[in-house]
Subunit: 407 residues, 2 copies
């Protein structure tokens, strides 16, 4: 008799974007930011077969050329590869920026022997500088030749800007007819805000899924993860989250329960990447989970949470370990959310610091201890309705200002 | 024959809130913030006769008790005095905060022999602490006894929090039947934003004017001055601008042209005070006049200007002397204003740094020189309509963060 082991449904695995079957990746140093540097800054993620793909992009009116080109190419039925670079955002570069994107997709399509419209492009880095095409183009054959299963970490490194560590994650999930994998790499650092400012994320999966379902899954997950993190309230010209599904596992996500399981796995990968991004916020020292409870509507819960999460004064207080609930009440007060100030409660973890709109003086010391931690939770209970909203945010340190004095 | 001199219409005068006829003021040290300190922190501005009054208050849902009491007392026909304190905002203090306000108005009304409902109250300082009434109440007789014409500067000093200099201003303006005076004191520093975060301002005038006209003048002027300055995007629980008109000059502002002249004088006083507030922004080193031109509507011009003026990243760049137009385009891009990114122009003073959405590389050095100044102007021309909007903003320095690590 064999011993029965507990059945797992989802589990963490290694391999990042190359964990799902049929994906390869590579990265090289193309000296994009600094001539002569051997820092990885050009990367490729490719599928061995045409993949379904979905994308969520910046809502900024000023969109970088690669965003516009990728949006367009997503309309072609399949995607074969994503070319990414750091060191230069190719934003506000006019016609030339657009032509450079086309030139890059042409070069990759030639090397891989696939259609030009099946290549997506992502860029991150300084705005307003032309891409050094003379250094990028000669590296593309090399990049294509280096495509391997084991290179996900190199891709995660190549897209780093002021990130201090590479960000990747992967999950395996058991659907009705077998297991599928989901992997991802991401970069964050400055300018992170709801609606994914200056972040790139490429997700891969070997599930077999229809294109409309894939798009719905990505939209839902991004709204629950990357759209709920904020570092400094800015939203960039280049934000991109891509999800490629190549079906190489042969396992389909068709039934509602399978799509739900698959969504949960994508969410797990994105949640992990989003948390890494906040933890690595430029010059920040703390991660704060801020939850607004019992607002009158979802929209008001979100406005209140984002107002507090982006209040410069509050973020400075957190940096100093000051559980400044006055600044919290002030921020939710001007957020536009409607509530009765005499009914508000504020908690640091489970400790009430404000009840019915006034200070709970007895808890002052306990709350100070919590605010001194590197990670803590703040709950603002508006007592006005039934809607909750949570964002992950950071403090604001002198180091942050120093880092952003210039690019 | 006497030599004819050029006739003046408006001129700067001394005396602050006591420049207009029939106003007296005083200030004392009531040890509100720090027991034992001899720092002025309690002030009184009074009119010798009942004055018409208008007020503009914070739009924050979380309003301090003095704001609510002053709003209510403004509905009584006249105002006789305004009691102000720094060191404690009396905000988020629940019922006790309200009772303390009533206690203070009662004490002043008894000393001055006027109605309790004719007294207004303003507080600024830390949120969520009860007022030290035991130290405040015994000082009120002293404060009333000290009322003099020459004390405006003492009042301006008494309301300072992290302000580094006292702020007062006064003008004399010639109307059809004679001259009238307008004076004011203000405090600003942190949390300054459109809608006047954490600022107090008391304006006095000896013009004879109807109450509805007085309210209209104040609303118009506040919208053009204090609502167009921003330091850190927060809006406080205590913002208050009051305008008292006691008619003691005997000169009426009735005709349209006289009301216009009077408005211009009030605007001149408020513009000067607003500029002082920005210049004295907590831990800031630069004042930037940011103008958005040719937006599609007034609302969009304002949204674009405020998004840029409050962008943490852009403010950090300015602190470093970096004319980072990428961050400007990024901010107006996510502001919600609609425009064609390929038509945008950005100027530092008169020097174009972006034209048709791309960098004017030739001007890089000239623009850097401008961004290194202590005060400069930035123009963002959206090329999309006919609406302009200007805000005064500041940079964001390490010093700012250090000052706000805790209260």
């Amino acid at each position: 008799m064999t011993k029965k082991t507990t059945e797992w449904v989802m589990r963490e695995i290694r391999g990042g974007v190359c964990a799902p079957k049929g994906f390869r990746s590579s990265a090289v140093a193309a000296e994009i930011k600094i001539p002569g540097s051997d820092r990885l800054d050009l990367a490729l993620v490719a599928s061995v077969v045409p993949a379904q793909a979905a994308g969520v992009f910046t809502k900024n009116l000023v969109k970088a050329a690669p965003v516009m080109v990728s949006q367009k190419n997503l309309r072609s039925r399949f995607v074969r590869a994503v070319l990414l670079n750091s060191g230069n955002a190719n934003a506000c570069t006019g016609k030339q920026g657009h032509l450079d994107c086309l030139e890059k997709t042409r070069a990759v399509s030639e090397c891989l022997g696939v259609r030009q419209s099946n290549i997506l492009v992502c860029s991150t880095g300084r705005i307003g500088r032309k891409l050094p095409m003379k250094r990028i183009l000669p590296k593309i054959p090399d990049l294509c030749a280096k495509l391997r299963v084991g290179n996900s970490l190199a891709v995660a490194r190549a897209i780093m800007t002021s990130d201090t560590f590479a960000k990747q994650s992967a999950r395996e999930v058991r659907l009705t007819s077998g297991t599928v994998c989901i992997g991802g790499v991401a970069k964050g650092a400055g300018m992170i805000n709801p609606n994914m400012a200056t972040m790139l994320c490429v997700l891969t999966t070997d599930v077999l899924i229809s294109s409309p379902k894939l798009r719905a899954v990505l939209r839902e997950v991004v709204d629950q993860t990357f759209n709920r993190i904020t570092v400094d309230g800015d939203m960039s010209t280049n934000d991109t989250v891509l999800l490629l599904a190549n079906g190489e596992s042969g396992v389909a996500a068709e039934s509602e329960s399978d799509v739900e399981l698959f969504t949960a796995a994508v969410r797990a990968v994105c949640t992990e990447l989003a948390r890494m991004i906040v933890r690595d916020g430029e010059g920040t020292s703390k991660v704060i989970e801020l939850e607004v409870r019992r607002a009158r509507s979802d929209a008001e819960a979100r406005r209140a949470a984002e107002a507090a999460a982006n209040s410069i004064l509050l973020k400075c207080a957190w940096a100093g370990g000051d559980p400044n609930w006055g600044r919290i009440l002030d921020a939710v007060g001007y957020s536009g959310a409607r509530f009765n100030p005499d009914r508000v409660a504020v908690f640091y973890e489970d400790v009430p610091v404000v009840a019915d709109g006034v200070a709970v003086d007895a808890n002052e010391r306990a709350v100070k201890k919590i605010a001194a931690r590197k990670e803590f939770k703040v709950v603002v209970d508006l007592g006005a309705g039934f809607s909750d909203y949570t964002v992950l945010t950071t403090d604001l340190t002198e180091e942050y200002v120093r880092l952003n004095l210039s690019e």
